[in-house]
Amino acid sequence: MKTQSPIKLWNPYAGGAFLGFVLYLAFLLTGHGLGASGGVARVLAGAMDMVAIDHMRMSPYLSGYADAPFSHWIVPLIIGLFLGGMVSGALAGRSKVETLRGPGISPTTRLVFALIGGIIAGYGARLARGCTSGQALTGGAQLAVGSWAFMFAAFGGGYAVAWFARKLWN
């Protein structure tokens, strides 16, 4: 089983249509779209509330999330996101411990840049009140002006640094 080659990925247009259908189901069933970064923020707020409650109360932003952080829809949603990825990846033979990286860099370099990228994206996701899921996908399908501006800004930001980041990937 370990030697089997992974199941092929979907055709991106078919896969995109499936993703769009899931997003539509979210609108139909719940009236909200999909999201991810808001869930990460709530998990963080919940965890901090347990270990550093005094500090939490000082931070008006995170303490807004700390009241029953797990009762918001986005928390079960990202748990489902994790489980869906896990099951799909395992069935496809893509679940294994590895550090995905470009051919020209070491695993350590890759992890350092993954951390840096995560910090920048995490900060940006809260500033923008959502990430690729909650803003670009959800708001994009709802024709929200701010979400379309967000999306173009995200592509713009990525392409602006692409030349500097090329050694990480090529």
């Binding site: 910090i119 994206a121 701010g146």
Partner: protein, 407 residues
Amino acid sequence: MGPFEWTGIAFVVVNLLLGFGFGVALERNGFGDSRRIAGQFMLTDLTVLKVMFTAIMVAMLLLYWSGALGVIDMDRVFIDETFLWPGILGGAMIGIGMAVGGYCPGTSIVATSTLKLDGLVFVLGLFIGIFAFGESVTSFWDFFQESGAMGTYTLDQWLGTSTGVAAFYVTLLALAAFWGVHKFEKAQKGEDDRFSRAGRIATGFAIVAGLGLVVVPQPGLQSKIDRMGPELAASLAAREVQIDPAELVDLMHNNQVKLLLLDLRDEADFNMFHLLDAKNVTLDDLLGDLPSEVDPLSIVVTMSNDEALATEAFRILRAQGLAGSYILEGGINEWLAVYGGVSDEKPEPVEEVAEGPEPMRFTFPAAFGDRVEIAWPNPHHMKLPQRKWEKKAKSMKPMTLAGGGCG
């Protein structure tokens, strides 16, 4: 008709299942692999663009068709509010994070679920970034809450078209992007760039679905007015939305609020006397597209001679989504009764009140319009009668972080 209310265990299960489908979709599109996501920015793999634009197009077409057919009540779908500048800045940061770190928040969770160490480390980075944001946001709170804050603002409003036309433009934009990507990829590989049969069929479907939305209208304002009827009747009966003349004077002198005065009376009464900067409008004007100067965050006060027409206008405005609309209590007649005594030009009670549902009960020696002091009573220069009043108008501040959407 969706969306539905979920409570207890069903609430958890529904969101868990939606998340599960989301996770499968991201994993099977290869977004658990940072190289694929970064490839979008290196122009070596354009899957991100294809998947994202297809998903947006499909979800949008299904959503607005469901709205048109009454399957989804669009009023109860939470639409991401626009905070333009924080959104643009944050979006650029996420783009940089994707090019450098190879993931966005959702995809890093999927990568972690398939044991990718770079995904796990990216998630750790997210925690740090979110924490840093929480620590620093207080130093630029006004920028975060108010810069380019437009409330619910959609492309159709921006373009001044119907929702269907805006959705059709987005469909065409997505198809144009697919066409460009296809030509680019085939040219790079030196392959035949004809489109597959399935691709042509799907494109045809999308165009027909998009064009259909141009023709089939979304549920009209009238159905919204009817639906909001009972709720508004309750606040009208409790007199929660009729503001005292003295409160309006207060609002007129409050430069923190954006105030819009709408006068529903006929032209003759309007020319005789109206409040400074009031706009003379008819109910029909309000049933159409609202003029662009109407800001969803303004306080709108409607007025007629008494309250009847103003109340009709109020119902329409609330259905139009202006949560900050109110009625001038007692109308212009009450205004003149309260402030007439301190005016430079004294209004006289009309001896024979005109026929009709809402007659003006005062008259002036000439048609003064707003060239009377009490069209804009200034408490600093005039001794206005003291009144006890209860503040009812709520200033519409941009929504805070507690909302739905992206959470």
